[in-house]
């Protein structure tokens, strides 16, 4: 019991969770031993994500953080796993890649970001995101995390020097650099 000289603050659990969520999450870069450039290893900023629709969800997936990409793109096999009918989509765009033209068909799913090394299915953050599913695109990875749907939801700080990527709440950038309202 609190004494008369103590002030006790009580917060709902959701508030505590929200506070905890402000902490940056750190993800190591991943060095791919089979890929080298000028004799040096290639390091990639990969973060673990998954997609969910209703009660269906994908496995955890390596998501490549790509600040030069405008969208979140994924292989259409993931849409199959989610039971999505891409013929009923929210729009289509085309992308020129390696001399090929690929079509992305968009559907909104729940994008989940998982903690590093997660072994128990924990979810760090989750939000609705419009994902462009690309037919037959799974030659390398399955997910590309671009601006709309990912970098507009979190602040990402990537450092090849530190060999790590930090993911924070999306207001972190403005708070750090005082960029003012958009």
């Amino acid at each position: 019991m609190a004494s008369s000289s103590m002030v006790v603050f009580r917060f709902p659990a959701s508030f505590v969770t929200a506070l905890a969520d402000q902490r940056p999450r750190i993800y190591s870069y991943v060095e791919e031993a089979e890929v080298r450039r000028l004799g040096r290893p290639v390091l990639r900023p990969l973060v673990p994500v998954s997609f969910a629709v209703g009660d269906r969800f994908t496995a955890h997936l390596d998501g490549l953080v790509d600040t030069g990409a405008d969208a979140v793109l994924a292989g259409d096999l993931l849409a199959d796993r989610l039971g999505l009918d891409l013929s009923e989509n929210e729009g289509e765009t085309t992308h020129a890649v390696g001399g090929r033209v690929l079509t992305a068909r968009y559907k909104t799913v729940r994008l989940r970001l998982h903690p590093y090394g997660d072994l128990d299915g924990a979810i760090h953050r989750e939000w609705p995101a419009q994902v462009g599913f690309v037919a037959g695109w799974h030659d390398y990875g399955f997910v590309l995390l671009g601006s709309v749907g990912f970098l507009d939801r979190v602040t990402v700080t990537a450092s090849r020097f530190a060999q790590a990527v930090a993911v924070e709440h999306r207001d972190a950038f403005d708070q750090r650099f005082d960029t003012g309202p958009v």
Partner: protein, 62 residues
């Protein structure tokens, strides 16, 4: 912090999933559909993608 190193030697041309902490390969299939289905059943596993063949070029979407 050091990057986590991966070694996909022996899995060239296959689709792989790795342990979330060690990045060691735990699943490898020639069919990506099978990999995605089997990986959903396991905890602590991340689907990586296809391991390129030696000298194979890879293209990304940007």
């Amino acid at each position: 912090m050091r990057a986590v190193r991966t070694d996909y030697t022996g899995y060239e041309g296959k689709y792989v999933a790795v342990d979330a902490r060690t990045r060691q390969v735990v699943l490898a299939y020639e069919d990506p559909r099978v990999l995605l289905r089997e990986a959903e059943k396991l905890r602590g596993v991340i689907v990586h993608g296809r391991v390129p063949l030696p000298g194979e070029l890879r293209h990304r979407i940007g």
